[in-house]
């Protein structure tokens, strides 16, 4: 069911001549986690601040749950934001920080107590309700901020790089926590990050942005497996990019590169056009016999945890990274060995510039 909850129609934001956002069209579905992903400065925070009402779009509309937001100030929008550095009020303790939105709404005391306690339970901070803000850790502050943002039961929770201030270990734990809290509250999450791993782990759908525009949109699998541009292919994980010309014969379609022909699936691209082939390191099969598309010499071997990646220098001087699984029957070739790399046509993704 298409249930578009938040819609951006042709949203553009300009500061003088500088175009921060350029014609953004985006629909967020009820209850999903949608991630805005992109390099720093591509306009993610700006889009989020437009949704929250802190910035007004130069042109275009924002619609939340069927209502036009153009004349609605931030405090009237049923949207809450989790700030990058939490912005917890230091003059209030944990309980009163979480109670802040309800006190603003002048809810009865008893209701406030019950709801704050429920939130404290949700974020697992029951024993910390009387701590001052400078007496809790970064991870706890994050959870207080989350409780404070969720207690008013917003229609959408905006999270702007919420994990960037945390160290790596807590970050993974918090990702799991965010998923659990999303499950338990059913709130729609609009999440912003520049880290593709975070986006892959957390999201139902990912929106890849670059220079104020949406580059590609899809599920994490689609984004990883079917990048539609060089930018998207490079942004999601490690990949090998080979430039070449598309050639077609009676029975096969291939890319003609300086290292020979790489067979690809026929995707109706006109013959002779310049394309880029993106091949993931794990798509390569390394062998020591002559069959296979790319020949070269093993130059370096990196052991990264459970996997081993060989750097293979081809005849034309191009370096490829190919992955060998520790468990595979094929043993890792030694440095200096002559090897051939091959891959299934389905694993070669052709992208344009």
């Amino acid at each position: 069911m298409e249930d578009n909850f938040v819609e951006f129609h042709n949203v553009t934001k300009k500061w003088g001549d500088f175009v921060g956002l350029d014609g953004i069209n985006l629909k967020i579905r009820r209850g999903e986690i949608l991630t805005l992903l992109g390099p720093s400065g591509c306009g993610k925070s700006t889009l989020m601040r437009i949704a929250a009402g802190f910035e007004l779009p130069t042109t275009g509309d924002v619609i939340i749950d069927g209502r036009q937001m153009a004349d609605t100030p931030p405090e009237k929008r049923e949207v809450n934001m989790l700030f990058q550095r939490y912005a917890l009020f230091p003059h209030l303790d944990v309980f009163d920080n979480i109670a802040f939105p309800l006190r603003i709404q002048k809810r009865p005391k008893e209701e406030i107590r019950q709801r704050v306690e429920k939130m404290l339970e949700l974020v697992q901070l029951k024993e910390f309700s009387s701590r001052w803000i400078n007496e809790i850790s970064g991870g706890q502050a994050q959870r207080v901020a989350l409780a404070r943002a969720l207690i008013g039961q917003p229609k959408v929770l905006l999270l702007d790089e919420p994990l960037s201030a945390l160290d790596l270990k807590i970050r993974h734990h918090m990702l799991e926590e965010l998923k659990r809290i999303h499950r338990e509250t059913g709130t729609t999450f609009l999440y912003v990050t520049h880290d593709q791993d975070e986006a892959m782990i957390l999201s139902d759908r990912i929106v890849l942005m670059n220079a104020g525009q949406i580059v590609q949109m899809g599920t994490p699998d689609e984004m990883y497996g079917k990048p539609q541009s060089l930018f998207a292919a490079k942004f999601f994980g490690e990949t090998n990019i080979v430039e070449g010309k598309l050639v077609r014969s009676a029975d096969r379609c291939a890319v003609e590169t300086t290292d020979g022909l790489i067979t690809v699936e026929d995707k109706m691209i006109s013959e002779g056009s310049r394309v880029y082939a993106s091949i993931r390191p794990e798509a390569f099969v390394i062998s020591n016999h002559a069959e296979g598309n790319i020949r070269g010499i093993v130059e370096d071997i990196e052991n990264i945890g459970a996997r081993t990646v060989c750097r293979v220098r081809s005849g034309s001087g191009h370096a490829y990274r190919a992955q060998v699984f520790r468990t595979s029957a094929i043993s890792t070739p030694p440095i200096g060995a002559n090897v051939a790399l091959s891959c299934a046509p389905a694993d070669v993704v052709l992208v344009s510039q």
């Binding site: 912005a87 009020f89 309980f95 109670a99 107590r113 803000i133 502050a141």
Partner: protein, 303 residues
């Protein structure tokens, strides 16, 4: 009020980012504490002790009695003057803070440069007395205000309450105090990062609620500092009341300085000074209490 985000603490607390060996513990606070001790606490104690002595023909007799205080307690003239001093303090502090707060808000959150702040502080380049006499020419019988009003045909004769009245003293004192209040409030507001204001708006607070529930409690120290600073200096001032205040503008500060400078009754002057100081302490407690009752104080739990 200082707020530190755990993520922004660049150095562990035990590592000194400067390569200078800094004194430990109270070491860094010693010079100012020593200064205050010698030039404030000791003289204040001396005054306190003296206030229980008696003055007789050009000498002070250490006869330990509360006569000075009894005399002050019964002197309606002193209380009238003291009330005038406190009234000056109240209006000067209130007006200065009310004028300085919006300006400080503008400097911290809106202005792109510190130009406004520097322009306000520019008045410090002229001396105190010069500024007083400037106001005398502005407010005087033939001064700018009266001439302008007469030329516009709004009044027939000069308004004489403009100068040599408590109002004139208050106007001049406000002029002196506003830059101080501004500086104190700017530095207090700089700790209230714009992110807090946005967070409060985001959580449903109106502009007014952001002011009363976030900004004011977070810059409590600055508020108390700016108010009490202007209050104390204005209430104790004896030069502006003398030059601008006229007959009705006599303050306890003026009486105190008179005891020391012309009458020569140090014990009575000391007792008056301590009486004024106690009144100022009460004002401080009242002001802090008012903020507390109005829920504008930090560090309170509401659950």
């Amino acid at each position: 009020m200082s707020v530190d985000f755990p993520a922004r603490r660049f150095y562990p607390a035990t590592v000194n980012p400067l390569s200078i060996r800094l004194p430990r513990g109270w070491g860094l606070a010693t010079p100012p504490v020593a200064f205050l001790l010698f030039f404030f606490v000791l003289p204040a104690i001396t005054l306190f002790v003296t206030s229980f002595f008696a003055a007789q023909a050009f000498q002070i007799v250490p006869d330990w009695n509360v006569g000075n205080y009894l005399r002050i307690f019964k002197a309606a003239g002193f209380w009238k003057a003291n009330f005038q001093g406190l009234t000056n303090g109240f209006f000067v502090a209130t007006i200065s803070v009310l004028l300085a707060f919006p300006a400080a808000f503008y400097v911290v959150y809106r202005a792109k440069t510190n130009l406004i702040l520097y322009m306000a502080l520019l008045s410090w380049f002229s001396s105190y007395l010069v500024r007083i006499f400037a106001w005398r020419t502005i407010l005087g019988t033939n001064g700018m205000v009266n001439s302008a009003l007469i030329n516009l045909g709004l009044i027939d004769a000069p308004l004489d309450f403009l100068i040599f009245s408590p109002t004139a003293a208050i106007i001049t004192l406000v002029h002196i105090m506003v830059p101080f209040a501004l500086l104190i409030l700017v530095s207090a507001l700089q700790d209230v990062k714009a992110e807090y204001l946005e967070a409060a708006r985001d959580l449903g607070a109106t502009r007014w609620q952001v002011l009363t529930r976030v900004i004011l409690p977070m810059c409590h120290k600055g508020l108390v500092g700016a108010f009490m600073f202007s209050f104390i200096l204005a209430a104790g001032d004896f030069i502006i009341p003398q030059l601008m205040g006229g007959r009705d503008g006599i303050t306890s500060g003026l009486l105190i300085s008179g005891q020391f400078r012309s009458v020569g009754n140090w014990p009575l002057g000391s007792a008056m000074a301590w009486t004024l100081m106690s009144c100022l302490l009460i004002v401080y407690l009242l002001f802090v209490g008012l903020l507390y009752v109005a829920r504008l104080s930090p560090g309170r739990r509401y659950h």
